[in-house]
Symmetry: D2
Subunit: 324 residues, 4 copies
Amino acid sequence: MSFLRRIIPPQGFRISSRPFKSFKLPGESLDESTSPSLIHGIHVFYCPDEVGIVAKLSECIASRGGNILSADVFVPENKNVFYSRSEFVFDPAKWLQGQMEEDFLKISRMFNAISSVVRVPSLDPKHKIAILASKQDHCLVDLLHGWQDGRLPVQITSVISNHDRPLNTHVNRFLERHGIPYHCLRTTRTDKREKEILDLVEDTDFLVLARYMQILSGNFLRSYGKDIINIHHGLLPSFKGGHPAKQAFDAGVKLIGATSHFVTEELDAGPIIEQMVERVSHRDNLQTFVQKSMDLEKQCLSKAIKSYCELRVLPYEDKKTVFC
Amino acid sequence: MSFLRRIIPPQGFRISSRPFKSFKLPGESLDESTSPSLIHGIHVFYCPDEVGIVAKLSECIASRGGNILSADVFVPENKNVFYSRSEFVFDPAKWLQGQMEEDFLKISRMFNAISSVVRVPSLDPKHKIAILASKQDHCLVDLLHGWQDGRLPVQITSVISNHDRPLNTHVNRFLERHGIPYHCLRTTRTDKREKEILDLVEDTDFLVLARYMQILSGNFLRSYGKDIINIHHGLLPSFKGGHPAKQAFDAGVKLIGATSHFVTEELDAGPIIEQMVERVSHRDNLQTFVQKSMDLEKQCLSKAIKSYCELRVLPYEDKKTVFC
Amino acid sequence: MSFLRRIIPPQGFRISSRPFKSFKLPGESLDESTSPSLIHGIHVFYCPDEVGIVAKLSECIASRGGNILSADVFVPENKNVFYSRSEFVFDPAKWLQGQMEEDFLKISRMFNAISSVVRVPSLDPKHKIAILASKQDHCLVDLLHGWQDGRLPVQITSVISNHDRPLNTHVNRFLERHGIPYHCLRTTRTDKREKEILDLVEDTDFLVLARYMQILSGNFLRSYGKDIINIHHGLLPSFKGGHPAKQAFDAGVKLIGATSHFVTEELDAGPIIEQMVERVSHRDNLQTFVQKSMDLEKQCLSKAIKSYCELRVLPYEDKKTVFC
Amino acid sequence: MSFLRRIIPPQGFRISSRPFKSFKLPGESLDESTSPSLIHGIHVFYCPDEVGIVAKLSECIASRGGNILSADVFVPENKNVFYSRSEFVFDPAKWLQGQMEEDFLKISRMFNAISSVVRVPSLDPKHKIAILASKQDHCLVDLLHGWQDGRLPVQITSVISNHDRPLNTHVNRFLERHGIPYHCLRTTRTDKREKEILDLVEDTDFLVLARYMQILSGNFLRSYGKDIINIHHGLLPSFKGGHPAKQAFDAGVKLIGATSHFVTEELDAGPIIEQMVERVSHRDNLQTFVQKSMDLEKQCLSKAIKSYCELRVLPYEDKKTVFC
């Protein structure tokens, strides 16, 4: 199965039928906001390229009284594919949810879209994620804090770990206090507990591997079928596999980094979403390499997840991502 | 007069009537390019915001067989202005120059555009600039080398300096060899030679102050009427005025920078185009502050000019710039 | 009183007389460590410059069987001052605490040291700090988490806020769980509660203003007499005072930053310890400016405190700091 | 032969016996300098670690009336090696050249130094280098300009290229005007012209490969016996070998870089001296990847050479470098 099956499916997220509330969204001005009946929408579109796509998309939005606030269009040279990501405001009383879905679907068919997704942050449910972690929990903790602060716009359905945490740890208490189920599924060389994990994560929109040290099988990837974001504690494609900080340390590099990417069958080789670096020198020892690496991992993973939730991450060819 | 008078005038650059040649443009793939009859165009548009602008612009391009390759749309919150910058390919045999101008002019009127500019890099003449310099010539030299390498897509009509360079310097020989007129206009406290400068730079598209140490009067700015890009050797708005490296050194900052910006009547306060920083520490003395600053100035000015030539720099409110 | 009175006093920290334990220190290799009877020491020295200081200091360490692992010496040009920071290992059974203090004191007198401080991280108590905060608690929360993770090598004696936090907030529960006293001292225009604060922070080594929005009077600074580290949410010397993110936003800068510095009588003008920047563009609105700024503040303040605890921050002239 | 033989030989540079002149050195204050009879010296020392080295070195300098301005000492954990780099001022009338050599030699023997080098920039001749280039000459041109500006403190004995440049190119005219011999030694699959190159570069202190596309044999490396600095247009250890920009482009990375390193028998694997990165995104095509890469290569190579000339680059284990 090609990687493309793992992107946000063309049918998008179900726009809930509950009455809308115009929330103050990240990015909205702190002074007087847009008219209270206008809310934000994000639309991403990905199809074979041809003349007239932008025209049709923008006409559609305009015809419903929507106003485009920002748009990114990307047509890579000689690849015959078209990507766009638009942000617009509209009056949900005038452009009803069902109608919006239908309008974009019509354009999807017109252009044989590979993907067409619309998201209305103030109406749609947050992305549901499960976080997988192992012994090193700095990324997990950072995500939990970010979620608590409202900086990470997700709903955490569960935390799954293959490492036992004593009951009185900060993480355990946090999860308990916030009612987030915690599952310890110890793995062995022969048993990766993948079936149980699949059951636990069925009702998620994507998965986050927060320094989860087990390799998910191709079977798992196909069965889960949705996107999985991983953080690799090295600057890919350097230092794949284990102990990248030590590999980097031994290699005498002057820059270390972290990479967040989509998980594919090939280890540490999926499309890269975000990378961050920091300088090191002879004065850094292995421990400070690791510490700097941990800080980069937290920032890099966090940013990747936010970009993904904002529909800024689309796959492009085998290895690349667009709009991020 | 508001700053806006200094942006690229709505009528844009005259698309020459010479037969087109489809050149290989920066940004084009190194493998097989687009069909030889297709060439690139860039269109920037700036008008009061309303529904339907993107639709009209993209329909226009599509109706002429043009294909949008990339687009940036920006509608700042609550400001009621609209900016777009589109790159597209088209067949100049099908969409003639005159027709293109007329088409975009029609949309300009429709939306009361403040500015609408189209540029076809392979057909239009390069931007004509004059460079003003003083004693410190590192920026001037860097621009000349960049121009020679083809990295700076401009035509240099003249170099004007208020500092005498001995005849056998590298700069003088370079200018002589390349047939670029060099004018030494010594200034005094009371005589800035502005009238002579104005005469010399009349036939330019914009000016570049490459560490030109004289302050141009409001009169000059109004008379010249076109954009002037300056490089300030400090991270504005810190350290305006003279000796910013020394000001920074004395202030004990850990980061120094350079800023390129448009020149307005207020010293070092025009809209910022680009800024770059570098770290300093107690181990830097004034001399290394200055050296690092010089390197930043060269990179920052060079980048600002390139962005400007690619129509990536539009004014936004008094102080800001868009798309860069 | 000159700023110099606020640096680490010449007598340094009392090396406790409790039996030492050779802990695994940050920076120690993860493989087999140095001989178990050797522990780390840090010595900083600051005196008028003359020939022979490094020789005397290193002889002293060598004569006691100590081995210098790293050293930084800095003698700014034409200033006639000498700074050094050395890290060494020694056998505390051979170089007893009392002897060490005496040895360094002797050299201090020999060279009329302005400051001479030795610190043995595995023996000496952690720095005791009080954290002052206001309504914006992102920095406070980040410091608490850093402390909990062991990344911030301090002992928090209390948290003082001029803003009331409801009892069931994350911060309150955290402080309660960890037994850290929390004091809410509401301030008014006329009453800054400084006397009460002074009483509460008497037994601290330095103070941290984590976005504490009250200006401490000169009186307070003199009475407290020790160092106070502040985080300013702007890239000083730009944007002093209030709402620097908004100031930066309006100024149209392309880089925003945060600055941690020592507090002096002049607002936002004390010696700078650390600065960090991030890029912004027209696509950032005030809210994302603020969000990026908040992330920088957390990192910048955290780093400044760590550097300070590692004796990497010494004052140099009025405005500068050394070794950081 | 181990890599260590390629470092600056223990006997250092012959301090010439010509009368000294106290020049204004980079790094000296622009205001009143140190006493006109004092000049700068740099000493680097590398030996097996033991107690007392810093003491002996600094005593030595002090005993001759020298004053240490800055010092870096580095003793990596558990490696039993010692590195130091000191900058000091001294009166050459009081500490004669011959005496200085003898003094440092004595300490070298005392500690079985692997390397001990002293350099007096105002007296010693500049490092003599030959630059090898191929078709891509952006690095070569940048080095020549840097040399011309005085930013690159070397003497260029010759430029050797395996690619023919027409007689009227900028490079050729430049070399001719400055009297720098230019040798075109075309290479083939079977003939790398190494013997001729060795003859041409015999009288150099080190070599610079400025995008020289031929692989130098182990034989050449051993015969030349001195250091060779290379610039690799990729962020090692990623993308070794050819076309790293294209490799990076295809890999979908978000950061590209350049690496300057010492040449060893293993391709692109010698100790790294400096690395620099820049961000890329989907909006970059192969051409802009290459352009950004070229800019990084120029800066990175230039910085590496400067650091090397300032004795800031010492080998540490197989892969690392110290003090840079």
